[in-house]
Symmetry: C2
Subunit: 239 residues, 2 copies
Amino acid sequence: MTMTHPTATLVEDTTEVTSQTIRDALRDAIVDRRLAPGTKLSEADVGTIFKVSRTLARSALQALSYEGLVVVERNRGAFVASPSLEEARQIFASRRILEPGILAEAARRIGPAEIAALRHLLKEEERLIEARGQHARRAEIKASGDFHLALADMAGNAVLRRFMDELVARSSLVIALYGQSAISSCGHQEHEAIVTHIETGAIDEATAMMLHHIDHIEADLDLRAKTGSDLKEALLQSL
Amino acid sequence: MTMTHPTATLVEDTTEVTSQTIRDALRDAIVDRRLAPGTKLSEADVGTIFKVSRTLARSALQALSYEGLVVVERNRGAFVASPSLEEARQIFASRRILEPGILAEAARRIGPAEIAALRHLLKEEERLIEARGQHARRAEIKASGDFHLALADMAGNAVLRRFMDELVARSSLVIALYGQSAISSCGHQEHEAIVTHIETGAIDEATAMMLHHIDHIEADLDLRAKTGSDLKEALLQSL
DNA sequence: ACAGCTAAAATTGTATACGATCTGCGGAGA
DNA sequence: TCTCCGCAGATCGTATACAATTTTAGCTGT
């Protein structure tokens, strides 16, 4: 409770809410599936929740629409994206093209420290799989994506990293819509196998396993409907 | 001259200037190199030129920053992006990963009609190479990018297409900054070779040629400086 | 009861207003 | 002469105001 800044209206947790803050919070909520596909994201509501004007709320929603997480219809408003089956197919097709390349690039730069970091992620994944409760389940799904993003980080290419950011986030939406089983634990084992292959320098095998892994995720999809969820409740939960 | 809409203030060429219009015009100007890297893009100036408020101008600049064509520095303004050598390397590394995959995907869907369309593009390229003048040179550079984008279109994947959009546009910036020779005509011959290989079903050879082609473009880069250019003049030229 | 129309409410689109930050210039002092 | 300070102008960040569009509710007539 350090009152070092007398001018600040609140104690310290006010890290200046900006468009970026809102964007990140909304993205988290969408990727975490606290906001279901199709949910209406009214500018006024978002602004009110974050205590900013519609200007910033609108800016954040625009940004999310560029990432494909939100769809903005002119004069109608913004909605959490609801990818069609065709879009889903395209997203996974893109991952099949990008991820082997990222893996190859990353493998060339990975040392013992990076292997350790990946294994640490896998440990966390494992822990969450064993844990119970909805919160753990959400964290598990996010951890699964984080593995792919960590790999993208290690490729040392900001462009590829950003593309993967988008693909992983949209994949989460697709899984929310069409996934029939929760993330299967064999996905985790495939992650393990990939790391092991990288460690032993078996790049081709690591690549093959990565493709198998992506196929596996996509094979778990099925068609079904989903309804909207409540905006405010989902966001307040993240505080 | 159909005056069917008495309420409209202007005859018809007013296609309602929106954020999208401005974004496209600016992107064209940047990719066409009518706006040099580093050029300041003041919100007020952009708004004045397009006769809209700063709101829309700002929105367009934001959008361009998501594409990597513009860099926005807080409280300082927007500038035409000036990719570093490292960024340039990353952009081409990304293309080396994406384009072979796109090529493979496209090859599976390409029929006689698509081959004809590609050959038509090549004809246009050829014509521009032979033509003289700065305008022809700009058109030639754009045509070169259009070939890659046409291929991406034929892959039938909107996600990949958008990634390529960004990569081609940013490549244009990189070439503007670091390219030493103008687009060499051998680039055109490589395009020809790719189409021929696709037509004869030699996908592996087409892929190899594509990689060679990208290497070729990147090998033509060198380090040198560039100055800013005038915003208004560059934009008005496009009307 | 239901289809269609109209008016009011809600929501988005765009412009403007105002405060905050940065930039550039000129003068005071060493 | 050089450096540092401070003030004025310019530019950006955010909020608010107003216009345009969509949605909704209610009414009327069949």
